[in-house]
């Protein structure tokens, strides 16, 4: 059995600054040993632990989809010791990745269903993974309608802008991009908070699942909207964040009641969460 604490060595292939405030960068990583890429077999919704020797490790959602081969991507917000250092690293630098960790979005349940994806701010990474996965020609027929509500405070803070534009042009996915406010006179998408836009676009709850990721305040105000639209708690899916160290359910810090977010999560339905303490 492999040592689950030992990161696979990876090389940074490219670094893209995603947002105007330069706080979010996307790192494209390539495994030094192609065998490791095979071992790193993941599903959208899972996360990995990024490891920088000398600095430490951080848990980050996987932004790529398994339908994309040859690399993995992570979008990293600059907050602490490791992420600050990571933001100064460059293409060619060596780091490590452990994973994939945790559960994923419940793809077996989502098959044959409509999927409503609701995201806010930089919590869009595993949602991007999910969208890319679902609209892949091999997979698209497995799902019904796909609606995406994605909001940021202003246009400059939206992630993956090129892809958002591409998806906008497609007919097999309904994009509802929104910003809280915009000073751009040419802004052609929605203006308004995510809960309001969700309410306005009113995706049907019929035969649907909602996946929601974003800042707590957005989730707090969107959940009532989803309930109003008719989504039952077991069909509202979210992904939690928690301080983590081991990522494999051993070190003990990321529990909510009986569940370890790193191993039993990070994906939970609202119904599951309602049976757990509110310690997150």
């Amino acid at each position: 059995m492999n040592n689950p604490y030992l990161p696979y060595p990876v090389r940074i292939d490219s670094v893209i600054t995603e947002t105007e405030d330069r706080n979010l960068k996307t790192f494209k990583l390539v495994f030094l040993d192609p065998e490791d890429e095979k071992k790193f077999s993941y599903t959208p919704g899972q996360f990995a632990i990024l490891s920088v020797a000398g600095l430490g490790e951080i848990p980050i959602g996987i932004a790529t989809s398994p339908t994309e081969q040859g690399f993995i991507k992570f979008t990293v917000n600059k907050v602490g010791k490791v992420t600050n250092h990571l933001h100064n690293m460059q293409a060619g630098d060596i780091m490590g990745v452990r994973g994939p960790m945790g559960n994923c979005y419940p793809w077996d349940l989502l098959e044959g269903k409509n999927v409503v994806i609701i995201g806010g701010g930089f919590a869009f990474t595993t949602l991007r993974s999910s969208i890319v996965y679902m609209i892949d020609p091999k997979n698209r027929s497995k799902f019904g309608k796909i609606d995406v509500v994605y909001g940021a405070r202003f246009p400059g803070l939206l992630l993956y802008k090129d892809e958002l534009a591409q998806w906008e042009r497609r007919s097999d996915i309904n994009m509802h991009i929104t910003v809280d406010s915009s000073s751009d006179p040419n802004w052609k998408y929605n203006v308004g908070f995510v809960p309001a836009v969700t309410k306005q676009k009113a995706p049907s709850a019929e035969n649907s699942y909602a996946i929601i990721c974003g800042p707590p305040i957005m989730i707090k105000f969107t959940l009532p909207v989803l309930t109003e639209l008719g989504f039952p708690p077991e069909r509202i899916i979210s992904s939690l964040e928690m301080r983590m160290k081991c990522g494999i359910g051993i070190c003990g810090r990321c529990n909510i009641g009986t569940e370890y977010v790193c191993k039993d999560g990070p994906v939970f339905t609202l119904e599951q969460l309602s049976k757990l303490p509110t310690e997150y």
Binding site: A53, G96, I250, C251, R253
Partner: protein
């Protein structure tokens, strides 16, 4: 498996020396005011007349701090930034004189470290390398409550051999093949005389009787998780707590750890060390948000994890063996027996 007998004069130093010739032997040693488990340097060091050690022997399998990986940061090193496993000694070892409660505790810890899908390699290999030679308790401490936690002074769970002190000698109850094989290198054993054998059951009963009952963990298992979580008891339980990590560090079933990097010039290493749910830093997010920001939450987490979450998660007894160390060591006398009593009964008014 069989029972065998040895006179004390043949056990120390004889048996221990033979074991030391073949194994690393960890045993109880008196160090200042307290006993502690340490790697024996000579057989005479071992003091089997101890009550129990101040710290649990978990250090043997889960060192307070251990090196996980090493790496180079030298600019000209092509391997720079790539983590390498640190060398470790997994040679066969004997844990001699471990109390039955502690041996049982490591079985409970196994549920955390060794699962079907993921194995903590260091814990697992150290466990595999160890023969556990237990020592039954004939004079338990007033803080002991193992019998309420599904263990007992003569419990054989997690042991390969159980030694029973009969005054002049020891009866060794050999419980596993590993135990039998380990004792093969030793000599001086004889069969157990009928009079000694006859006394064993009474000794066991007497020891069990001397331990007071406390609370019933099964009653806690039956209660609703959220009801317990939201119970008003925590407000009073938490007041005295000063949020030090003493209870968790002395506990044999507290396994939580932190992972840290240390860098010395152009090389570094990744270490892991005991951590404690009592520390606010334990759950502090990078963003500054802390889901267990309040002392009440942290105190509740410790007791809920031991007595409720673990039972629910593994469908087993509690993650507590009743060794009583936390009761003895808590600087402000927070007593898990009292807390357990309150958790077990919905309308338990209070302690004392």
């Amino acid at each position: 498996m069989s029972d065998i007998y040895i006179e004390k004069g043949n056990f120390i130093p004889g048996v221990i020396e033979r074991l030391m010739g073949r194994y690393r032997v960890h045993g109880p040693v008196k160090n200042g005011r307290f006993h502690e488990f340490s790697l024996l340097k000579n057989a005479a060091e071992a003091d089997l007349g101890f009550q129990n050690t101040r710290l649990s022997p978990k250090e043997i399998f889960h060192p307070q701090a251990e090196r996980m990986f090493e790496f180079s940061l030298a600019k000209d090193d092509p391997q720079a930034g790539i983590l390498k496993e640190a060398d470790k000694d997994f040679s066969p070892r004997v844990v001699l004189g471990i109390r039955p409660c502690d041996a049982k505790a490591f079985q409970l810890d196994d549920a955390n470290f060794i699962t079907e899908t993921i194995k903590d390699p260091w814990w697992a290999r150290r466990r595999e390398a160890a023969t556990m030679i237990g020592l039954a308790c004939d004079s338990p401490c007033p803080t002991c409550f193992c019998t309420s936690m599904g263990s007992g002074p003569y419990d054989t769970a997690g042991l390969d051999v159980l030694l029973v002190d009969t005054g002049d000698g020891y009866v060794a109850e050999v419980l596993s093949e590993r135990g039998e094989n380990t004792l093969l290198v030793t000599s001086g054993w004889s069969s157990v005389s009928s009079s000694v054998r006859a006394s064993l059951a009474d000794k066991k009963k007497a020891a069990e009787r001397s331990i007071a009952g406390t609370f019933d963990p099964a009653a806690i298992a039956k209660r609703e998780m959220l009801e317990l979580y939201n119970s008003p008891i925590w407000e009073e339980v938490q007041f005295a707590c000063i949020n030090c990590g003493t209870c968790t560090f002395v506990c044999p079933t507290c396994w939580c750890f932190d992972i840290q990097e240390e860098v010395y010039e152009d090389k570094g290493e990744r270490l892991r060390m005991w951590d404690s749910c009592m520390f606010p830093l334990f759950t502090l997010h990078g963003s500054g948000h802390n889901p267990r920001n309040q002392k009440t939450q942290r105190v509740r987490q410790r007791f809920m994890h031991k007595l409720k979450y673990y039972q629910d998660k593994y469908n087993s007894g509690p993650a507590c063996v009743g060794c009583g160390r936390c009761v003895q060591a808590c600087p402000v006398n927070i007593d898990i027996r009292q807390v357990g009593r309150q958790m077990a009964s919905p309308d338990c008014a209070c302690p004392a």
